[in-house]
């Protein structure tokens, strides 16, 4: 009995040491999925700083203001008619071209009828259509009408980026090995990324039009996988201070978070000054956002921005 007991104790001691040795060797780290010791695999895209912009001459700036043009792919359905109408009447006006892609046609509003209910198939078809009809527009912004976007700030983010390089930008989320851009806060694709995507669409194996029936992935993840096959990786859009530019919550909601955390400076900790997207607002709140973004300001505080974006024609809420 005693010998058994002592063998047990010896066993335990040895087991413990064994475990410690293993962890010291670093071959397993318990618990953490992305511990700080991990290699920094995340890709970040930051907006250009003023210094970077100074290096561009004025004629180059003017040229750039006109060169960065955005094709908005807005995925709608009759179910969200009010949001559809609101997106059209608010932020959609600031896209160089805003095209609405609907699951089915609606009498009230104009859209490209995809005649499709499956989410991934819709996105698939819409992106193909966008690519074929892009004209000379080189940047693509994909969103649902429940998202609110400030296109000028998007243009500023990609200002110094070459659309003939592959870019896939937004608020990135990691799911296991896959890093994808969250749909809710908007997806940005450069022309090259879209071109590669349309190419890989032809490959039914790698990127099927209808998701594999056994393992239905969300369309945002499916997009990331297809793009990954072509060598395009998701990048997180942030400002020069590292604050995220793509938000899946509303301003009010983010402020509420700051207040409940008892932050010292709720406003400073909320969101970026040059935020690109917010989500989760009612249609009325989107109208108020137009006022907040494009109109309300304190007199006498001026920014000598290096680009000029004119207000759209035929509009009174911005």
């Amino acid at each position: 009995m005693l010998s058994e007991g002592s063998s047990f104790m010896k066993g335990m001691a040895l087991g413990g040491i064994f475990c410690l040795l293993l962890s010291l060797l670093g071959s397993f780290t318990p618990g953490m999925q992305s511990s700080p010791e991990d290699q920094h695999h995340h890709h970040h895209i930051k907006a250009p700083t003023n210094d970077e912009l100074q290096s561009l001459s004025e004629p180059q700036m003017v040229e750039l203001s006109q060169k960065v043009r955005v094709y908005c792919v807005i995925m709608v359905q009759p179910k969200v008619l009010v949001y559809w109408a609101t997106a059209k009447d608010t932020w959609g006006k600031h896209c160089d071209q805003a095209v609405f892609y609907s699951s089915e046609s609606a009498k009230a509003l104009e859209a490209v009828d995809l005649n499709e209910q499956d989410e991934w198939a819709k996105l698939h078809k819409a992106l193909k259509h966008a690519y074929d009809n892009s004209g000379d527009l080189r940047w693509f912004f994909v969103a649902r009408p429940t998202t609110f976007a400030i296109i000028e700030n998007l243009k500023y983010l990609v200002l110094a980026k070459d659309p003939n390089e592959p870019f896939y930008i937004g608020h990135t989320v990691k799911s296991g090995e896959l890093e994808y851009v969250e749909y809710e806060s908007g997806i940005v694709l450069s022309y090259e990324a879209l071109r590669r995507l349309v190419n890989v669409f032809k490959d039914g194996e790698k990127c099927p039009e209808r998701g594999r029936s056994l393992w239905k992935l969300s369309e945002e993840k499916q997009l990331a996988i297809c793009l990954k096959y072509t060598g395009v990786f998701a990048e997180n859009g942030e400002d020069t201070q590292g604050k995220g530019l793509f938000n899946s919550k509303s301003v009010g909601s983010l402020i509420e978070d700051g207040m409940s955390k008892n932050s010292l400076d709720v406003v400073e900790g909320c969101c970026s000054d040059l935020a690109i997207t917010f989500s989760g607002m009612s249609p009325n709140q989107m109208q108020v956002m137009m006022f907040g973004v494009y109109r309300l300001r304190p007199y006498g505080h001026n920014f000598h921005d290096s680009l000029i974006f004119l207000p759209p024609d035929g509009s009174d809420n911005d």
Partner: protein, 416 residues
């Protein structure tokens, strides 16, 4: 044999148990070692520690003189050129007093303190009781709706007595009013505090020249404030009713103070008695009192409100911070605003040094002969930016000055 395998078995079992238990122990230890970063924050956010941190950051913004907060630095923003705002800050000094009470300090007044009041030259929180920590002034009244006019009377007397020389204009706001003080300076910049004037959201009933809504906030010039205090000294004014805004309006009318038009150069309101969403998207039912109260025609939809809005009312804590974010932080990069109003006369000369002068001088005293270029949209009818100085008797009524569209567009860009 049996004994040997038994102890070997125990040995292996022990080995397994040891490995597993240490694995879990390590996991727990790992998690605990991560927590101090969270806990540390958590510990610090205990009320006492947090208020200490707040006081530390507050002392960078304000200098306390008794219960008054004297603004040390006009809040600035990274990357902005606030020279015009700074100049107005020096020239148009505003004392903001906020009507509050002991039970509202932590739920409402605190958020006013953290947001818009930082843009005033001087801030005083007026309550029924002294509170040296917040700080608030104790007016020696009770609390409740029936005390509102008493509080107002005493608050204005306090302001003149203690800070008559620290400010030119005296703003009254509630603890659920949000004020864009920089825009208030713009509204006031073309007027002189030596004239008896008062501005706000103008209502028409019960007073010949109308009166200003209390909730939307109102501003008295120094002369108006002197006359208000004088009125009580000479008993021309007394505590007539607890309906504070009406009573004050009636007193001021008796003392010859003028109720002014605070709308912008496109006749859009600047002081608002409700929240932005209500004005921008709401439809006021025709039987609602508001229709019969407003001095100027109600406009629903985007034209309800000036880009240079001065105030909103019924603003809860979350909306306070949201409005501060929208006003002072969030913007569309490079966007050229549709509404680019003229500079006030005093600043025109200064700006003329840096830019080609495009503002024609109409040469009518203090009035600015600015030009508003409304952009390409529906506001394309170019109007003169002149605002009438007084509403009564047409002392200086100004007609529209026709201007040449072409020459102003480019150079007006960067202003306002």
């Amino acid at each position: 044999m049996k004994g040997l395998s038994g102890s070997r078995c125990c040995f292996y079992m022990g080995f397994l148990v040891g490995t597993l238990s240490l694995y879990f122990l390590r996991q727990v230890w790992f998690e605990m070692s991560m927590e101090p970063d969270v806990l540390g924050e958590g510990q610090d956010s205990s009320v006492a520690a947090l208020s200490k941190k707040r006081q530390a950051s507050d002392s960078n913004n304000w200098r306390m003189e008794g219960a008054t907060l004297i603004n040390l630095n006009h809040p600035h923003h990274i990357g902005e050129d606030s020279s015009v705002a700074d100049e107005l800050y020096r020239k148009v000094r505003i004392l903001c007093w906020v009507m509050t009470g002991p039970s509202n300090l932590q739920t409402k007044a605190r958020h006013v303190k953290a947001t818009w009041s930082r843009h005033c030259n001087v801030v005083v929180f007026m309550s029924s009781i002294d509170d040296p920590d917040f700080p608030t002034v104790g007016l020696g009244t009770g609390e409740g709706r029936d005390q509102l006019y008493w509080k107002t009377i005493r608050a204005f007397h306090y302001a003149l007595e203690h800070h008559g020389n620290d400010a030119d204009w005296f703003l009254k706001a509630d603890d659920d009013t949000f004020v864009v003080v920089d825009n208030l300076r713009w509204v006031l910049s073309n007027h002189t505090p030596e004239e008896p004037l008062y501005f706000g959201k103008r209502f028409k009933p019960y007073a010949k020249q109308g009166y200003m809504s209390g909730g939307a906030g109102y501003v008295l010039s120094k002369e108006a404030l002197r006359r208000f205090v004088e009125g009580f000294k000479t008993k021309v004014c007394t505590h007539t009713t607890s309906v504070e805004d009406l009573a004050l309006g009636q007193c001021l009318e008796k003392m010859g103070v003028l109720a002014m038009d605070s709308r912008d150069t496109l006749q859009r309101e600047t002081f608002h008695p409700f929240v932005p969403e209500h004005h921008l998207t709401g439809k006021f039912s025709k039987s609602f009192w508001y229709w019969s109260y407003c001095y100027y025609p109600i406009v629903e939809g985007p034209r309800c409100c000036s880009d240079l809005a001065v105030s909103f009312h019924y603003v809860d804590a979350e909306l306070m911070y949201t409005l501060e974010y929208w006003t002072y932080h969030l913007r569309a990069y490079g966007y050229r605003y549709r509404y680019r109003p003229p500079l006030s006369q005093g600043l025109v000369e200064r700006q003329a040094q840096t830019e080609r002068p495009t503002v024609g001088t109409a040469g009518r005293g203090r009035t600015p002969a600015g030009i508003t270029v409304g952009g390409d949209g529906d506001q394309s009818k170019a109007e003169s930016g002149a605002k009438p100085l007084s509403d009564k008797g047409g002392k200086e009524t100004l007609g529209k000055i026709p201007i040449d569209n072409n020459r102003t567009a480019v150079t007006q860009e960067r202003q306002g």
